[in-house]
């Protein structure tokens, strides 16, 4: 008797069973809901956020035995956006995800992957009680609706090494381009023990990497324009005097020798006390605490053009929460989202992750007072959080930032192209990309 076909059939059956088992829910996420309502929640895959998500899910499951939430960190890949797009295509998205990059929202919407949140009757009241209207509005999608709940922000600010600046004779925080460049002259002229080139005023990654511009050109442009971003009514509008000023400012930093042209590969030069200022987000506080506890630092808003009036805005590096349209229980998923952004859970976000919740009462609500007393460096970020902007929700933002990065390199780093010309070229390329995308 020929046994091969039977073996093949058994093998195929075994494969199907293994695949089906592999796609099932992960063990160890607590007892199942008796009524059968199951929600899946994907947080960011870093240890702090996994710890936060685990804590929140345990509290939720204890309070809601009828709606069980299973937490699973976003599968590790090159980027969360790639994973989510693949999941949308494969219809394997979770019910809720808390690592939504606003810039990627357009792609998710285009793929039909998200639930409209303002269709829930209590959306407006829930948002109004937490997030200031002005901040909320920037997350309105092109169709006029909301598909994301602003969850946390990491405002880009200026870190200052007080010891280095004091030694160089800089007594006050440089708040404007002029003051910053004057500080640069002092740092450059100071006879540092390691010799010329051992200490710099600042440093930026000189490689034309698109995301690096989220920490120099983009926040400085937002600051110089009093809170404007790169696009207006879907059209690139950053070839203006503010952007010219930003590029010329960085060009002066490189041209006058205040910033090195070298790429540092031996660690964070701010932590190594090789540069006096650094543009970064609140995660830098945790890094200083861990790797350079002796570092005497303070945090201030990024420099603005001379004569600037009004608050200093910056890039907020937001991560938001969305519900995916594959959910079988949108109302329960929305209840879970509301639970995630309750004030006491925002306190957990602060204390476990050292990241700033997008809420207006951070410094007024007594619930958060103890945290800010224990972490004074985070107070500046809480102040700044109200004056932040996200990236524009336009397609192919990555390539548009790449175009800016190329011109930034040519104009600011190498000083080979005049700022207005560099901006004109960047806008032309942005227009070409946008036109192709239509």
């Amino acid at each position: 008797m020929d046994v091969t076909p039977r073996l093949a059939r058994r093998g195929a059956l075994l494969c199907i069973l293994l695949v089906a088992w592999g796609c099932g829910p992960r063990p160890g996420t607590g007892p199942r809901a008796a009524s059968g309502i199951e929600l899946t929640y994907w947080p960011a895959p870093n240890p702090q956020e996994i710890q936060l998500a685990d804590t929140l899910v345990r509290i939720w499951n204890a309070l809601h035995p009828d709606i069980h939430v299973a937490m699973q960190p976003i599968p590790v890949s090159i980027s969360t956006e790639e994973v989510l797009l693949a999941a949308i295509a494969g219809k394997t998205t979770p019910d809720v995800c808390s690592n939504i990059l606003p810039a990627a929202l357009h792609d998710y919407m285009q793929a039909g992957g998200l639930v409209r949140l303002d269709e829930f009757p209590d959306f407006d009241s829930a948002m109004a009680s937490r997030t200031p209207r002005e901040l909320m509005e920037q997350f309105r999608a092109g169709d006029g609706h909301f598909y994301q709940v602003p969850w946390k922000t990491n405002p880009v600010m200026m870190f200052l090494n007080r010891r280095l600046l004091r030694e160089a004779g800089v007594d006050s925080v440089p708040a404007t381009y002029g003051e910053y460049l004057a500080a640069g002259a002092r740092v450059l002229a100071h006879p540092w023990p390691g010799g010329a080139g051992s200490i710099w005023l600042g440093e930026r990654d000189v490689r034309p990497l698109w995301w690096q511009r989220l920490f120099d050109f983009f926040p400085f442009y937002i600051a110089a324009t009093g809170g404007r971003t790169l696009f207006s009514a879907g059209k690139a509008t950053f070839d203006d005097s503010a952007a010219t000023g930003v590029l010329e400012f960085f060009r002066a930093c490189y041209g006058r020798g205040y910033f090195p042209h070298t790429y540092f590969s031996g660690g964070d030069p701010f932590l190594l006390e090789k540069k006096a200022t650094h543009f970064s987000g609140p995660w830098e506080v945790a890094a200083i605490r861990k790797f350079a506890p002796q570092l005497d630092f303070e945090v201030a808003p990024i420099p603005v053009p001379d004569g600037h009036h009004g608050p200093v805005y910056t890039y907020g590096d937001y991560k938001n929460i969305s519900i995916f349209s594959t959910t079988a229980h949108p109302r329960e998923a929305w209840a879970f989202v509301r639970f995630l952004v309750e004030a006491r859970h925002d306190l957990l976000l602060l204390s476990i992750c050292d990241q700033i919740p997008v809420r207006g009462d951070l410094l007024a609500n007594p619930l958060f007072a103890q945290y800010f007393r224990d972490n004074p460096a985070m107070v500046q970020f809480a102040h700044q959080a109200l004056y932040t902007r996200s990236t524009d929700a336009v397609p192919d933002l990555k390539e548009i930032f790449d175009a800016i990065a190329q011109e930034y390199e040519a104009c600011a780093v190498y000083g080979r192209v005049a700022a207005p010309l560099a901006l004109r070229d960047a806008v032309r390329r942005s227009d070409m990309i946008m036109e192709w995308d239509r």
Binding site: L85, A89, R207, P208, E399, Q406, V413, R416, W436
Partner: protein, 297 residues
Amino acid sequence: MTGPRGLARRLASGDRTAYWFVLPYAVFFCAFVAYPLLFSLILVFHRWNIVTPMEWIGLRNFDRLIGDGLFYRSLLNTLTFLVIHIPLQAAVALALALLLNTGIRGRGFFRALYFLPVVVSGVAVTILWQQLYSFDNGVLNGILRAAGLGPVPWLVDPSMAMPSIAIMATWKNVGIYIVLFLVGLQNIPRELYEAASLDGAHPVAQFRHITLPMLNPTIVVIVVLSTIGGFSLFIEPYVMTGGGPMQSTLSGMLYIYNQAFSFDHMGYAATLGFVYALVILAVVMLQRRVIDTELTP
């Protein structure tokens, strides 16, 4: 005469063994050559980011390509690389092959030594050269400083970066071309040199009037292979410079890679690939014509 009926009859008969032998390559060809080629031809008319469904956009990828400054820049960079790399590669390979074709001691050792970089991983070689070329603490600039000279901005100056990469690529690939030249040199009949010597031709004249013309087929092969290899320039700029400074090392392949895997523009990347393939075809045909005309006695 073998018509379809004849083929069917042969297949039906016991004479099928040869088809089974051909089958593995036929499967390989279909899976890894014919299917990707056909699929990329379809992609040329679509916008596709891998995960969402393809969108038919007609000739808009070509429309974008025509107005895309970076496409022309990458083409120019690749041609710059070829202009430096091909003559340098051919000259160095020929010089070393002539040397290794004489009776010098340790010939086998040197042949192996020159071939060694060819078999070493391209990424490893590139990282090694990155250390050599480093502006602040590189070995080459260390030597220059020790000699009292200033450092050379090998990879950080837009006008120096591509020549630096061409030098590195020559070092990496020269071994294989030495072998090709050695084969060519050893196929030249000794009688030609003996006759030339009797006629009073000095070594330079022998090289010019015997060696070079007799090596013509080898030179054609080397130039064509170098051209195709040069158009495939990717690892070196990807690892060393990322296409910078100021896009001076953005090669055609690197631009295709960026469009496909950094920006998820599969359709546009396929369009760039097709146009590059046409450019390579045109350049190779031109080279063949020029070399055939100039070197054929």
